[in-house]
């Protein structure tokens, strides 16, 4: 299977007054063409930074990115900012986590949506506007004509999120990074949007990186899942395999904290005690060791290496689940 995106040994550090903050470290990940890969992990584990860094969207003097990113035959890490930007829209696109900060507050939705169509697809002004209206209808926004003329503040949270989705899919990208794309949507609209994304994957062979904390969404919409912890990918496996036969203790703990509709109301939820390690001062051994119920001495002294099972299941743990000591 060929990879559309391959990230090799990518690290991202931010210079902060307290020292270097290692947001992503040594990530290796392959996104096979036409596939959907889920990314899950604790808040602050580096999911957004990984996606943005892969697209070359992190800029400024405080950001250091190392490693290589190859997309569709282009080595992005060897290209200039302008060259990478050429690939936005019909190559790669991103649905950002916070629509309010991603949308321009003083420009009408129609202008923001048709801009890409005109610049990247060379559409005329009126064609682009007509297509923009269709796109809004595609993401189930009622009254699309009126919404085209609205400003972001006039829309509900879920409407803004759908506008972002419409912008991201407008130029038929080969690869879509979707960072928490449905958090502001009710479950019926969410189901429709996820179906739309599935159709785009089938019809246009679009690949997708789906960052979400909703493990129900992951279960039904991804072929593979990457689990991140403290800046690293700690487990990577086909979705069914991950849920049925996880190897990482962190993944197990994560799945145990899912709130479920079939539980009685008022039930206390299971938490993973403790918190993510300080990203400016990572522990020497396994990052999860202070919180791991399977931790042994070795875990606090040696950083676990990536292991690959014969079936391709990848994980980073000295004492994986399902292996007797």
């Amino acid at each position: 299977m060929s990879s559309l995106l391959s990230i090799k040994n990518m690290s991202v550090n931010f210079d902060t007054p307290r020292g270097s903050l290692e947001a992503v470290r040594g990530v290796d990940i392959e996104i096979p063409a036409g596939m959907s890969v889920g990314v899950v992990g604790e808040s602050g584990s580096g999911k957004t930074v990984m996606c943005r860094a892969a697209m070359g969207l992190l800029q400024g003097s405080t950001v250091n990115r190392t490693g290589t990113v190859i997309f569709d035959g282009h080595e992005l890490t060897a290209m200039s900012k302008e060259q990478v930007r050429e690939l936005f829209g019909s190559g790669m696109a991103m649905i950002f986590q916070d629509p309010l900060t991603a949308l321009n507050p003083v420009r009408r939705i129609g202008v923001q949506l048709s801009e890409g169509l005109r610049v990247r697809l060379g559409m005329s002004k009126s064609d682009a506007m007509a297509r923009s209206k269709e796109l809004l209808e595609l993401v189930r926004i009622p009254n699309a004509a009126a919404v085209l003329k609205s400003f972001p503040y006039q829309l509900s949270g879920g409407m803004r999120q759908r506008v972002m989705i419409a912008i991201a899919i407008s130029c038929n990208p080969k690869l879509l990074f979707a960072d928490e794309p449905t958090t502001a949507l009710d479950v019926t609209v969410q189901a429709q949007i996820l179906q739309l994304l599935r159709e785009l994957r089938e019809d246009l062979k679009m690949s997708m990186v789906l960052v979400t904390h909703d493990l129900g969404v992951v279960a039904g919409n991804t072929d593979y899942v990457a689990v991140m912890y403290a800046g690293e990918v700690v487990e990577y496996a086909p979705t069914k395999k991950l849920f049925a036969d996880m190897r990482m203790p962190y993944t197990e703990a994560l799945l145990n904290s899912i709130p479920r509709v079939d539980h009685k109301s008022g039930t206390r939820l299971t938490v993973i005690a403790g918190r993510l390690p300080d990203p400016t001062n990572r522990p020497v051994g396994c990052s999860f060791a202070p919180r791991c119920k399977y931790a042994q001495d070795k875990c606090t002294t040696d950083h676990p290496e990536l292991k690959t099972d014969p079936d391709g299941h990848i994980y980073r743990c000295w004492f994986p689940i399902g292996e007797s000591l």
Binding site: F14, T16, P17, G41, E42, S43, G44, K47, T48, Q97, D98, L100, T101, R140, P142, N143, A146, K149, S150, Q154, S156, G157, G158, M159, R162, E180, A184, D186, V187, T188, V189, Q190, A191, H213, D214, L215, G216, V217, V218, A219, G220, K240, F243, A244, L254, S257, I258, P259, R260, V261, H263, K264, S265, G266, T267, R268, L269, V271, R275, D278
Partner: protein
């Protein structure tokens, strides 16, 4: 008023918040008006967590903001602790807001990027003169701890340096700083992974038990709603469909929209992916809502009556109220 009714109102002395006939409209051009909230009534009693779920764009955020008078509603009453906030002069409103706090839906953009985390949480404490410098710092540390953030690591950083979920937790800490009696949460945990989500929900449950915190909890996550709420209100296009205790609502929903919602909850198990019927039809426009029952254009149970008459809320089992001519039995 229509489609809503008042059968579900308890009108007790224990009400912390009573909302009557709340209406919010936005004029977006000379002859176009968005009816975001249409004659909504409900009450929240002390220690209760009223969850509000409903279609995206049905008016939840607008309603929450109207309760806080940000901006005030076009009409209706908002009685908080015995005072109608819509009648209150600006200065008194400011102090009323200290006991009613809101966590906003967009965590990153709701925090001032120029302030450090310490300044963000200290701001309300300082304005309302809550304790000495030392006491306030202690309080700030405690708050950050309770939302799962390490004070030493975050105090001097600014919001743009944080992830979405971290910003969410900072705004929760800020909202809890003044020990509000009532908390209005707009999607408070939607940006959080399940473990942190659980931690925050447990914190809110704890605050409810120990401080008698009363909450209005807007969320799309039906599993979260079930875990935290004592009463659930389902909305569609600015109106109430159904009000019931969570265990009842989830096991025997009476409104057709409630059932459609429950059928769409994603199941966290890749082997149990039954593709349920998606809700059919286009969501109607709030500028021109359907006559009668607003859900009728997409309802499988609709009859001629549904187009003619607006259904009123009525009690169909103890504590369960539904606005539907042909409820599911």
């Amino acid at each position: 008023m229509a489609g809503s009714g008042t059968a579900h109102m308890r009108n007790t002395v224990d009400s912390v918040l009573t909302v009557r006939d709340l209406t919010v409209e936005f004029r977006i051009s000379k002859n176009k008006i968005v009816k975001a909230v249409s004659g909504l009534s409900f009450d929240v009693v002390k220690g209760e967590t009223l969850a509000i779920v409903g279609e995206s764009g049905c008016g939840k955020t607008t309603m929450a903001r109207a309760i806080l008078q940000l901006p005030p509603p076009n009409s209706g009453e908002v009685i908080f602790d015995g005072t109608d906030l819509t009648q209150l002069p600006k200065e008194n409103l400011r102090s009323a807001r200290t006991s009613m706090q809101m966590i906003f839906q967009d965590p990153i953009s709701s925090l001032n990027p120029r302030l450090t985390v310490h300044q963000l949480i200290d701001e309300p404490l300082e304005i309302w003169d809550r304790g000495t410098r030392v006491e306030r710092d202690e309080r700030i540390n405690k708050l950050l701890f309770s939302v799962g953030l390490e004070p030493d690591l975050v105090l001097n950083r600014r919001s743009y340096e944080f992830s979405g979920g971290q910003c969410q937790r900072i705004s929760i800490a800020r909202a809890l700083a003044l020990d509000p009696r009532m908390l209005i949460c707009d999607e408070p945990v939607s940006a959080l992974d399940v473990s942190i989500q659980a931690q925050i929900l447990n914190l809110l449950l704890f605050m409810k038990e120990t401080h008698g915190l009363t909450m209005l909890f807007i969320s799309h996550d039906l599993a979260v709603v079930k875990a935290i709420s004592t009463r659930v209100m389902v909305m569609y296009l600015g109106k109430i469909c159904e009000v019931a205790p969570p265990d009842v609502l989830y096991t025997k929903p009476a409104h057709h929209y409630t059932r459609a919602l429950l059928n769409s909850v994603p199941i966290p198990d890749p082997t149990k992916q039954i593709r349920t019927e998606l809700l059919q039809g286009e969501p109607p426009s709030p500028m021109n809502p359907p006559s009668g029952c607003r859900f009728r254009t997409r309802c499988v149970g609709a009859s001629a009556l549904c187009a003619e008459q607006e259904p009123q809320l009525r009690e169909i089992s103890p504590g369960q109220f539904v606005a539907c001519h042909h409820p599911i039995v």
